[in-house]
């Protein structure tokens, strides 16, 4: 089997300090960046910190920036690089560094808890729910999310603006909301939350999130843009005035 030697520039450090260190690693056919990191751990730097679990793109643990691009290390094959190329591996920049490739992603867990949960219509008399596959498909797209937080990492609303974090949920949680709203049986109105706390208005649709999504979810086109359009409808000044005089329109049950 062909073996190639790569120079890996891996970020080593902890909050406040750190730099890239070079590791020369033998790479065999089929290996991914995560395999290379594991090889460094096993042979050169046992304390090199990184997260991982499934090694198959299903758990979203091994997020990092490879040559500056947010990616899952387990799904980044080494054969996309030129033999002999130097490859940098850095932690996600949007979150505070814990150590090496591990960041403090608690921002995401805080935002997750804020989203108003599902409240379903009552079941049919036989205790079962009936939903058509076509209706389920729309929401299922967003249920594919593996919470790798790469979309959060790349989102420039928060990547370079710590001050936006309190009032912005980030793409991950905007599509979480979209998924809840598209649940065929959900009854909750999240529009105030989407505007005031999730901060959908801060997104200016550069689609960076969609580009890095390893699940290929159409975050912007199918999630955020329709949400922005609904917000715009709700706050159309003419509609607002009409409502003011006629009373709010009754939503169909």
């Amino acid at each position: 089997m062909a073996t190639t030697t790569f120079t890996m520039k891996v970020f080593r450090g902890q909050a406040g300090h750190g730099d890239f260190r070079d590791y020369k690693v033998d790479v065999e056919e089929g290996m991914v960046v995560l395999d290379v990191i594991h090889r460094i751990q096993a042979t050169q730097a046992p304390d090199l910190a990184c997260r991982w679990n499934c090694k198959a793109g299903k758990c979203g643990s091994c997020s990092a920036e490879v040559n500056g691009k947010p990616r899952l290390m387990c799904m980044t094959r080494m054969d996309i690089f030129q033999p002999g190329e130097t490859i940098s591996v850095a932690p996600m920049r949007t979150f505070p560094l814990v150590r090496d490739l591990v960041t403090d992603v608690s921002y995401n867990y805080v935002k997750a808890r804020q989203v108003p949960p599902l409240r379903l219509k009552p079941a049919d008399p036989d205790g079962k729910y009936r939903m058509m596959q076509e209706d389920v498909d729309r929401a299922q797209e967003f249920h594919k999310c593996i919470e790798c937080f790469l979309c959060q990492d790349v989102c420039h609303v928060i990547r370079d603006h710590e001050e936006h974090k309190p009032a912005f949920s980030g793409p991950r949680f905007l599509i979480k909301i979209a998924g809840l709203d598209m649940h065929p049986l959900d009854t909750v109105d999240r529009s105030d939350f989407v505007r005031a706390q999730a901060g959908v208005g801060l997104c200016n649709i550069t689609k960076c999130c969609t580009e890095v999504c390893p699940e290929h979810i159409h975050i912007t086109d199918n999630g955020i843009i329709p949400m922005k359009e609904r917000m715009a409808d709700n706050y159309d000044p003419i509609v607002w005035l009409l409502r003011k005089f006629r009373g709010a329109r009754q939503e169909p049950a």
């Binding site: 089997m1 751990q41 304390d47 991982w52 643990s61 867990y109 079941a123 729910y129 299922q140 249920h143």
Partner: protein
Amino acid sequence: MAKTAYETHEHDVLVIGAGGAGLRAAIEAAAQGVSVGLVCKSLLGKAHTVMAEGGIAAAMGNVWPEDNWQVHFRDTMRGGKMLNNWRMAQLHAQEAPDRVLELERFGALFDRTKDGLISQRDFGGHRYARLAHVGDRTGLEMIRTLQYHAIHQGIDVYMECKVERLLKDGDRIAGAFGYWRNTGEFVLFKAKAVVLATGGIGKAWKVTSNSWEYTGDGHSTALWAGADLIDMEFVQFHPTGMVWPPSVRGILVTESVRGDGGTLKNKDGQRFMFNYIPEFFKGETADNEKEADAWYTDKKNRRTPDLLPRDEVARAINSEVKAGRGSPHGGVFLDICTRRPADYIRKRLPSMYHQFKELAGVDITREPMEVGPTCHYVMGGVRVDADSTQATVAGLFAAGEVAGGMHGSNRLGGNSLSDLLVFGRRAGLHAALYAKNLGGQLVADSAQVESIARAMLEPFGRSGGENPYAIQADLQETMQNLVGIIRTEAEMRQALATIEALKERARKVRVDGGRLYNPGWHVALDLASLLTVAECTTRAALERQESRGGHTRDDHPYTDDTWGKVNVVLRLRDGAVQVSREPLPEMPAELRALFQERK
């Protein structure tokens, strides 16, 4: 010596593990109004459940109205070669449909039938299409649903926290001691009841579908705390793991590929499973391709042998490869591309399509996959009371993979996710009731805590000593080669000797660096549990002198009825693992009758 510094948290119920079983247990305990802590080794939502693919087995009858709990019970017992705890199998079959509907109430969106009900798919060993599913990412849907339900129930979640030992007050559980992986600082949990939901032991083998987390923590801590383990000889090698490229060897290829029409072939293009139908399953298995293919749409036909229980299929693949009829990289072919249209494959098996495309450069809608057995699941575990899930230590409960008995000698696909929900709920409920009824104050022994903490820090700065990764790799190699799919006494004796030597090496392990998020240290700490479960499996496997389910002996190739009446039980006495045989609970006559009705 200075007293060890640690933070302390107190809960009525402490749930260790936040996969399907742990989350469901925590939700149920919180619903009982007690204070609940939930500890997870990884971030929340990353536990092994997330990787489950096929579905949740439940006799809902949405696709085949003929299905009911009795049929599911019968399939489960036969799949486990009748060694299952009958009461667990009964509760599981009876309660699974309600647990699936409940998950839907929590927000899960399953694939639908034409009538808008939850769709169900075929799987190995199940008489009817029975698995509620979401494409081939059912586990992801399940863990997200439970996770997002749980975070609104007032449960305290401790992420990236590892429990090293359980603490006791006299004969009762009193809490647990561990560390934050993030900071390396110690943490003490005081708890009246502890639910173990820590999953399995697969990281003791080299080729495995299991992640770094699966180091048998729950099995070992329970054993060390005085609890019994049963059935540890039964380890499931899933027949279809990826075999190429080497770096992905062992990653799971869902049984849904065969459930949805895929078939196994050798290098000559022969559907070899027809040559491996055991006597036990002859009556219900098709012996020709025509009938096998007709079974998918008409259940009056007998089931395709591609969907025999996993132990049978794994052994068959093993034999084909040994006979020189395997694929170029030492597996066999799994073909769905010639049997189903590309659109169907992409819709039903999206993550398999993705996984092979990205990791192996194989388009499964145009080429066959190469697959081979991979260590996947341990049937054995903590011996529990079927109804309450309580272990043989008061205040200790166990649910999911870490519990033993439910699956007998071999688990059917799809029965794991349902097991997590059924027994996760029961564990949470009974742990909460136990905690509520427990009067007085529990005191965890502080001298015990001091000695655990000291031992945990010893590898730092040890001069000489070995890299923990090397010891882990040697253990994996040993278990793979000597306690794998096919076992013999001589090889297992050799394995035991090697394990003893590895224990000695582990006592001198050296860790470089500090306590802050140090994977080398984490691997070093996990060695104790990994070596313990490896020893347990090997000792139990030596004891059982027959072949059954996930335990095949080359030197005892037949299934023996006298062994069908006993569990191999392991317990720690005076620091040594003691092995005994104890009778299975006896199945009542009305359930026994279910096995006489039909071949």
